[in-house]
Homo-oligomer: 152 residues x 2
Amino acid sequence: MARLSDIIENFIKDMIEETDGEVEIQRNELASYFNCVPSQINYVIATRFNSERGYFVESKRGGGGHITISRMSTDKPYDYFMHIILSMGDEISQHSADIYIENFIDLNIISESDKKLLKAAVNDNSLKSIPVFLRDRVRADILKNMLMKIII
Amino acid sequence: MARLSDIIENFIKDMIEETDGEVEIQRNELASYFNCVPSQINYVIATRFNSERGYFVESKRGGGGHITISRMSTDKPYDYFMHIILSMGDEISQHSADIYIENFIDLNIISESDKKLLKAAVNDNSLKSIPVFLRDRVRADILKNMLMKIII
DNA sequence: TATAATAAAGTCAGAGAAAGTCAAAGGTGA
DNA sequence: TCACCTTTGACTTTCTCTGACTTTATTATA
């Protein structure tokens, strides 16, 4: 029994397919097309088009507002990256972040310029305001988030 | 879905482009060209051409009045970056960070790949483990740290 | 030379448009 | 039955557009 959310999910996926990876929708328009409340569109997006599933979403409110959903590319580097990212664990020290980053350079997966920014983002200077007990967790979040964006 | 404000924004940006960084407009004339009230021009200027976005604006009222919009010079990227970084303050919202980053793209001083990484590093998803009251401070630290690395 | 008329631009609050949030209620499958 | 999805809708936030009113500068006139 396909639920409405599944139907909307597939509808959006078809649109993304047709438009080559990125689609712009109007929340209210889509909701009225499916005869549901607008917030159901948010539910579908939150549960089906989040970054764990390889999508990212931007939106704008007000007149002319819209929601843009993009799919990350699904070629091999993507799978490889995802594997590494998923294996990373929830906390990473500055030292081991540096090792990961150097490794990516060795493997030719990221550019020197990416490396500079990755290191700048996750070094202790950037994170100096965060209580120490939280720092390695935030570092892991940032590093993973950035790596995910590299493969988009 | 481009709103009138977006259209006016692009119109002004094209003019700035053609005139190499500075343009002088008549508010009423522009408003009647676009069939809108004059104060909409103020709205566009306030939201699209503020200093956060790398512009500054001067004007004069009365007969022969006008509005002059200038884009900050990017001849010396180092100076420009330093200026922006120094003007940033100790706390930055995600929205405001995005505006800074988009502006760097508009002015061609960072690459698309830099943009992706900057945005990924400072979005709320990366910083979700940080208590909200600290988040904007950490975001500012990370953004500044990364920008500094770009100019080195 | 004062003063009045005119010609700009500035301000601000309100209406309207669109998306976001969140908790409560309703289903469903193991 | 019970935990976990889905669905709903009231309320919130953000962005855009408008118009009445204000301020400032220039020009014409007494």
